[in-house]
């Protein structure tokens, strides 16, 4: 208890924001501790807010409550053994994490996954992107006070999880990919399921938009809230939909295509103002674009092997590699250093949530408490990935 108190004062003393001299009525500056147990911090994020009334003077994020030392674990596991661990970082987009890791190791080994594996990887990853965005939308809307979208999105996300479960037996931490390709062939009816899902979810996305996009309160709550300019976004290393909403048309799937994204036709949505509303619109369009990719991919799955020729014991040559993919939250990078043994010498994960969260402070300066909640939601952080 005592320790916690000290901790708070320490953290706050670092918030040395200027306060104007107030000779007359001195309204108290309130220090509020939001989290780690708070309905709107999406996990165990703790934000210390310095408030003047309801106006935010400064914030300080305290993270690490979910720190599991993933990078340290990686150094003590073989390449194959570490694969399931990456799913536990961004647990709402586990498939993307797996894709990034597997491809990084494949790059280090200089092998290439066969085309059929790539197609299935793309389908699953894009499904996962939709699932992640749906979860984001539900919780974000709930933060802003709209209860109902949460249940709609979770209902529809369930269909994706069912496909995952049928494919690999797991719903959340799927461990769907292996280094060099896939372990499992698709189940019978996979393609039909995916096609059905695409047909099913299109009108559902319209349904979400009906509830929110034109809603006056929603617009008022999100327009010009948490604005970040393209310049600031780049300087802060913000990636993903947050960067695109600021007007930077940059998506790793297009900029440096991995897997076989170059074969598909899709658009990169961008916003103009870089506010919460634009980020919302960008993500909604991204969901539709993902559906487009899935449609193309599922129509063109080639026959063939699903696993490349990878040695039983993975022992990459001495060297290092950085590989990054466009995860639902932004650029997810893996920096792997090999010393020639079966265990990676060092695995560094470049987590999009962690870097994006850094932008919270400048996004909420001068805003109100309610906006802090909206901005945390719009950054779409997953604490498992922030803390690793």
């Amino acid at each position: 208890m005592n320790e916690a108190k000290n901790d708070l004062t320490n953290a706050v003393s670092n918030l040395d924001f200027e306060t104007p001299e107030r000779p007359y009525l001195d309204s108290n500056e309130l220090i509020i501790n939001m989290g780690p147990q708070h309905p709107a911090t999406h996990g165990v994020l703790r934000v210390i807010l310095k408030l003047d009334g309801e106006k935010v003077l400064g914030t300080e994020c305290v993270i690490g409550y979910l720190h599991r030392g993933v990078e340290k674990i990686a150094e003590n596991r073989t390449y194959t053994m570490f694969n399931p661990y990456v799913d536990r970082m961004d647990y709402v987009a586990a498939v993307s994490n797996g894709l990034g890791y597997c491809q990084a190791v494949e790059k280090l080994l200089a092998v290439e996954a066969p085309p059929r594996a790539n197609y299935i990887r793309v389908i699953l990853t894009e499904l996962n992107r939709i699932a992640s965005h749906q979860l984001w939308l539900g919780t974000h809307a709930l933060d802003i006070g709209a209860m109902t979208p949460l249940f709609y999105t979770f209902r529809d996300r369930e269909e994706i999880l069912k496909i995952f479960e049928k494919y690999c037996g797991a719903r959340l931490t799927t461990h769907a990919f292996r280094i060099g390709g896939l372990q499992y062939e698709t189940y019978a009816g996979f393609e039909k399921d995916v096609k059905n899902f695409v047909a099913f979810v299109r009108p559902k996305i319209d349904e979400y938009e009906e509830l929110l996009t034109g809603n006056r309160i929603w617009i008022e709550r999100t327009k010009n809230v948490g604005v970040i300019s393209a310049k600031d976004a780049i300087a802060l290393g913000v990636t993903g939909p947050v960067l695109r909403a600021s007007g930077v048309k940059w998506d790793l799937r297009k900029a440096q295509p991995y897997a076989n994204y170059s074969e598909f036709d899709f658009d990169i949505p961008t916003g103009e103002n870089g506010d919460t509303y634009d980020r919302y619109i960008v993500r909604m369009i991204e969901m539709r674009q993902s559906l487009r990719i899935i449609e193309q991919a599922v129509a063109g799955i080639p026959e063939g092997p699903i696993m490349a020729k990878v040695p039983k014991v993975i022992k990459p040559a001495v060297g290092e590699i950085y590989h990054s993919i466009e995860a639902p939250k932004g650029e997810l990078g893996y920096f792997i250093v090999s010393d020639g043994s079966t265990q990676p010498y060092r695995v560094r994960v470049r987590p999009p949530s962690f870097v994006n969260l850094q932008a919270l402070d400048i996004m909420v300066q001068g805003m109100l408490v309610a906006d802090v909640v909206a901005v945390i939601g719009t950054l779409d952080i997953v604490l498992g990935e922030v803390d690793r």
Binding site: L30, I31, I32, P39, I144, G145, A146, R221, L368
Partner: protein, 441 residues
């Protein structure tokens, strides 16, 4: 005793217990209203959970009783036996008294709510003023709770609440005044103004409804669209006054965890909830009284005559029969598994109770029609008055749930801006235009 009973059921006497200075009857009325509101709050609790659930593609409570019908009782028992925690740093006395003040304010308001021309505890000649005044005291409970908890989230909730209620009370009051203004015009119909009257209106709740009866129009439609605008302003302000979505900032759970009642638990917390729902019903009854003709049935003048009276008199019974039919439908759709046997029986029993009430309520007007007995006639009238009033209030209750399921929450500054820059000027404008129209027309 019977004479006394008759005298109060007789609509021609049309006296409230307060007016007749009959303390015993007043007490009985108070007890009936207290019980009725408490039951209504429980029903509302169940209804909100169920309706909200169905808005959100889920089922809501299903375990406690058939379709969760006993859930409110289970909740109440749980809250009663829960540990009552008072934070050690809290201001004990204020913390203790805060929920009581809210509750007191919410229930005192019902003194003047007119369920019929004589079905009110008392008919004060400042009725509406009394209602607004007492319901404005409810904010004190919220503010005291927030402050006494000695914690930051409740404090912010209390600050929001006080600012919000004070701002919206102004617009609300002006909207009410424009309705009161209409009571002074004695003409008939939508734009009717009579030069013959002395032009004095009334603040009495019963008087306001009677004015609508005399003018043959609900004030909602009077001077269309002026009455409608004032009503809409009131309808918005009353949501803000009762801290309900989308104006539930004082208890916004995603920002302030639970706002002013963060530190409350168990019984004390349930008192806040009781007060909130009671206040919702109370402000809805103000709206019904002022704009929707209170206890008047639809078209009391256009569709006048004993035949129409009789047809409308069947409504309460038919409503309950309908509810009973819904319950039976539910029974029929229950799974046939033995596990659901008790629930099926329970639901059927509930349906029987509802249908029984429906039959009794049907029987009363029919018997009155046939026998034309004074007492039966009086009972029919009372029944109808209360029925139509409650039915109108129920519509508002449903709207409350609907709003909550649909809209995101406003932000504090937006709420304030809307209160002061939109609602206040419009209500002021409506008031002035109403006055001008009333004088010139």
């Amino acid at each position: 005793m019977l004479e006394s009973l008759k005298s109060f059921l007789e609509p021609s006497v049309a006296r409230t217990p307060g007016e007749a200075n009959n303390q015993l009857w007043a007490l009985i009325y108070v007890l009936i209203i207290f019980a009725g509101v408490s039951v209504a709050v429980m029903a509302m609790n169940w209804l909100e959970r169920k309706a909200l659930a169905h808005f959100q593609v889920r089922l809501g409570p299903m375990r406690v009783g058939p379709h969760g019908l006993l859930q409110p009782i289970a909740d109440a028992v749980k809250l009663l036996i829960k540990e009552d925690i008072i934070p050690s740093e809290a201001d004990k006395f204020v913390f203790w008294i805060a929920p009581l003040i809210g509750l007191l304010a919410a229930f005192t308001v019902y003194t003047v709510v007119p369920f019929g021309p004589s079905q009110a505890v008392s008919d004060m000649n400042i009725g509406i003023l009394f209602m607004l005044g007492v319901s404005s005291l409810a904010v004190l409970g919220v503010v005291m709770a927030g402050w006494a908890s000695n914690s930051h989230y409740p404090l912010i909730g209390a600050l929001r609440s006080s600012a919000q209620m004070v701002s919206y009370e102004v617009a609300m009051g002006l909207a009410v005044v424009s309705a009161i203004l209409m009571t002074s015009l004695h003409g008939m119909g939508l734009y009717g103004v009579s030069k013959l009257s002395d032009g004095t209106g009334t603040l009495s709740m019963i008087g306001i409804v009677q004015a609508q009866q005399e003018q043959h129009v609900w004030f909602l439609f009077k001077f269309f669209p002026l009455g409608l605008i004032a009503f809409v302003i009131f309808a918005i302000a009353m949501i803000a006054e009762t801290n309900r979505a989308p104006f539930d900032l004082p208890e916004a759970e995603s920002e302030l965890t639970a706002g002013f009642h963060t530190e409350y638990s168990g019984l004390r917390w349930s008192l806040f909830m009781l007060a909130e729902y009671a206040a919702m019903i109370a402000v809805s009854s103000i709206a019904v009284t002022l704009w929707l003709g209170g206890w008047l049935r639809p078209f009391p003048n256009l569709l006048a005559g004993s035949a129409w009276d009789f047809i409308f008199a069947l409504f309460p019974g038919l409503t309950f029969l309908g509810l009973g039919a819904v319950a039976f439908l539910g029974t029929a759709r229950m799974p046939k598994h033995p596990y659901f046997k008790i629930q099926t029986i329970g639901l059927a029993g509930f349906g029987v109770v509802l249908a029984g009430i429906g039959i009794i309520l049907l029987a009363i007007p029919i018997a009155a029609k046939v026998s034309n007995h004074t007492l039966l006639n009086a009972a029919t009238t009372t029944l109808l008055n209360v029925y139509w009033f409650v039915a109108k209030v129920a519509v508002f209750m449903y709207l409350y749930i609907w709003y909550r399921a649909t809209w995101p929450r406003y932000r504090f500054d937006q709420l304030m801006r809307m209160g002061w820059k939109v609602m206040l000027p419009i209500s002021l404008g409506v008031l002035i235009v109403t006055a001008i129209v009333g004088v010139l027309l």
